[in-house]
């Protein structure tokens, strides 16, 4: 059944040189479960692991002792530590992470000024996109702490799986952007000279901004950017460093998908993008793949059998069993054809299938089952 190369994630987590595993993919494909299962398996094989999750399902979070949102790693109880490993897990609190960065990189008065600015309040708590920056920031912090020999990261459920990769670059372009320079040096020499080159008067630009935003908003925005100015340099350097870290051989990207058209298309984009960026890809995890213990009985034959029974008017149970099997075989055929398309387009990307479970995974036993499947069964 398995076309293409097969992936064994034990090779990845069992290699002590692997220090960071990043699970990425579109929303709803089981990224968090995959990250948690890999973390648990690595810990039970003897590694010191921390799992950084972004937005876990409630019961999965509870099973890992993550019901408290305190933005620091906590030990997961119930993991088998007999091999000398351990499992910590944490859930990202983006506002708190942002606050910590602000306080760590500015004087108390300046930090307070930033906290009080309405732009900071909305940027740090409600505007989407901040999550990606903060996930990257937290990954850098965890790596710098050096308490763990393996960090497993679950990427944010963003509009596009690529947002995570783009975050540091976007931050860079934000800081180098002309707009910031003009807002910053608006009254100063740099900004004016720059506008002169463009052949536009400063008054025209600030006038336009004032008309659109209102004078008070512009003032708040300028104050916010001025206050962030000193701090952002350090933030950006670390985001760049984290981005570089992701490119090293100590990192393994695991692309997660479900056997559905949209999820696999997103996975294809991601695989291609990782290649372009020179990021180390371990392979594709195909979650929730349907399987059967009666693969010799095709959908067509099962349907024909059910029809025969319906005509005869007997054996309703067997007829139901046959129809159920026919439905499953059709799903399997569709999934295999989608999988085949992916492996044809990306023949060098190893793939591992995780069989569909009837219910959701929300305890360590369930994570172990998924973990075993991730290692090829």
């Amino acid at each position: 059944m398995a076309a293409g190369r097969s992936l064994d994630l034990d090779d990845v987590i069992g290699d002590l040189r692997t220090r960071v595993v990043v699970c990425c993919g579109s929303g709803g494909v089981g990224k968090t479960t995959t990250a948690a299962a890999l973390g648990l398996r690595a810990a039970e094989q003897g590694r010191q692991v921390v799992v950084l999750t972004i937005d876990p399902a409630r019961r999965l979070a509870q099973s890992m002792g993550l019901d408290a949102l305190d933005n620091t790693p906590r030990r997961v109880k119930g993991a088998d530590e007999s091999a000398g490993g351990s499992l910590d897990a944490m859930m990202l609190d983006m506002k708190r992470t942002f606050d910590e960065v602000v306080f760590a990189h500015s004087t108390p008065e300046r930090a307070q000024a930033i906290m009080d600015n309405p732009f900071y309040q909305s940027l740090s708590s409600s505007f989407s996109g901040t999550q990606e920056y903060m996930a990257m920031e937290k990954l850098g912090q965890l790596r710098a702490e050096d308490r763990w020999d393996l960090i497993v990261v679950d990427t944010p459920p963003s509009r596009s799986a690529l947002d995570f990769l783009d975050a540091p670059k976007r931050l860079g372009s934000f800081l180098d952007g002309r707009f910031i320079r003009i807002l910053m040096g608006g009254a100063g020499k740099g900004g004016r000279a720059y506008l002169k080159v463009l052949g536009t008067g400063l008054g025209v630009v600030t006038g336009a901004l004032t008309r659109v935003l209102g004078a008070q908003v512009l003032k708040d925005l300028q104050a916010f950017i001025a206050a962030l100015d000193t701090m952002f340099g350090g933030f950006r350097e670390r985001a760049d460093a984290t981005y570089q870290l992701l490119k090293t051989s100590g990192t393994a990207f695991v692309v997660v998908a479900a056997p559905e058209r949209d999820a696999l298309r997103e996975a294809s984009y991601f695989v291609e993008r990782l290649g372009t960026e020179g990021m180390p890809l371990a392979g594709l995890v195909l979650n929730r793949v349907h399987t059967t213990g009666a693969k010799t009985l095709s959908a067509a034959r099962a349907t024909a059998g059910a029809e025969t029974l319906a005509e005869q008017g007997g054996h309703p149970l067997a007829a139901g069993v046959l129809r159920l099997h026919a439905e499953r075989m059709r799903i399997i055929e569709r999934e295999q054809s989608l999988r085949g398309r992916f492996t044809a387009a990306h023949p060098r990307v190893p793939v591992v299938d995780v069989p569909a479970q009837p219910g959701d995974v929300h305890d360590l036993a369930g994570l172990r089952t998924v973990g075993a499947a991730l290692a090829g069964g």
């Binding site: 008070q216 059967t292 009666a294 149970l317």
Partner: protein
């Protein structure tokens, strides 16, 4: 479908903006497209708006990638029309600036200095402001001339997933908090006015699985708390019951009569090996477990006390024909 359209009144008379959200992977785009078709009966025009840059609508309707332009993608049942639009935030911002501020040269200057890029990429909340602004404009747009009728009878928004929906729709309240006065404040207030009015309904798509149902319950609570009108709940990919309750109970306990199944297979002329019979029985046991879990999820959904619609699982996947089938189901249940 035409024969059905008069069969049942829509539960959403008076709603002009249908916002469709759902957890990732629940089929939110498919449901939004089916709803747009369902709303396009008898000479009605519906605008289907996509906001996440995925080109999911083009894929569904088998059309080339959509530019930032309103294009007819399908003919509705009974002669209606489905128009689609993929919103591009940068273009939307320029259009917005031009329309509301007549900025001319200053607008171009803003683009030159990177303010447009800044606004649409670095401050992602701005994207949400622009997208909701564009949707607001489309909902209110009227034809030129005396009739002054609305250009679109309904607008369906394929919105961000449940995790982001309240934030997305509430972004203008956030903006109103930043801008105490001025034109931005006025615009933000007008958009929030539409989104919180009875002209809007936020529908949530779910599967009969624990996580999507939990997120649906969370989203319903969050939307209600934000004063946003919660619409219906659309349960997608529902499997038809293929076995009797008694058989399912027996299967769940592992007590399905193996001999009876084997006899039935023989009577059907289906010859399989013993191992395959075990495989079939295992499939039934899994199915029974799933049905039991689904029952629990249905109870949770019922507790939300919202109009609920069901769409069947299409084991062959979704193509254009399937969209019409789903649209018909939505009409028959009163969702459109």
């Amino acid at each position: 479908m035409a024969s059905d359209s008069g069969a049942r009144e829509s539960d959403w008379e008076g709603v002009r903006l249908h916002v469709v959200t759902g957890k990732g992977g629940t089929g939110k785009t498919t449901v939004a497209a089916a709803l747009a078709i369902a709303l396009s009966g008898e000479g009605r025009r519906t605008l289907l708006v996509e906001v996440e840059g995925r080109q999911g609508i083009a894929q569904l309707f088998d059309s080339p990638p959509l530019p930032y332009e309103e294009r007819t993608v399908a003919v509705g049942p009974g002669g209606g029309e489905v128009v689609a639009l993929a919103v591009d935030p940068e273009e939307a911002l320029l259009e917005y600036l031009d329309m509301f501020y007549k900025l001319g040269r200053a607008g171009r200057a803003l683009r030159k200095i990177g303010a447009i890029d800044f606004a649409t990429t670095i401050a992602p909340g701005m994207r949400d402001v622009l997208i909701t602004g564009k949707v607001y404009e489309a909902v209110r747009r009227r034809k030129a001339g005396r009739s002054g009728a609305h250009v679109y009878d309904a607008v369906v928004l394929d919105a961000p997933p449940t995790g982001r929906i309240a934030r997305f729709l509430g972004v203008n309240a956030e903006v109103a908090g930043l801008a105490k006065v001025g034109p931005v404040r006025g615009q933000a207030d007008a958009i929030m006015g539409l989104l919180t009015s009875p002209m809007t309904a936020v529908h949530v798509v779910t599967l009969l699985e624990e996580m999507p149902v939990q997120e649906t319950a969370d989203a319903v609570a969050e939307l209600a708390a934000a004063g946003l009108p919660v619409g219906g709940i659309i349960v997608n990919a529902v499997r038809e019951p293929l076995l009797k309750v008694a058989d399912l109970t027996a299967a769940a306990k592992g007590r399905l009569p193996r001999a009876e199944v084997a006899d039935g297979l023989a009577a059907a002329g289906v010859s399989v090996r013993d191992g395959a019979i075990d495989g079939l029985l295992a499939e039934v046991a899994e199915h029974a477990e799933r049905v039991a879990l689904e029952k629990a999820q249905r109870r949770t959904l019922k507790g939300l006390a919202r109009p609920t619609y069901e769409l069947p699982l299409l084991s062959e996947g979704v193509d254009l024909g399937a969209l019409y089938e789903l649209a018909e189901r939505l009409c028959a249940q009163g969702a459109a």
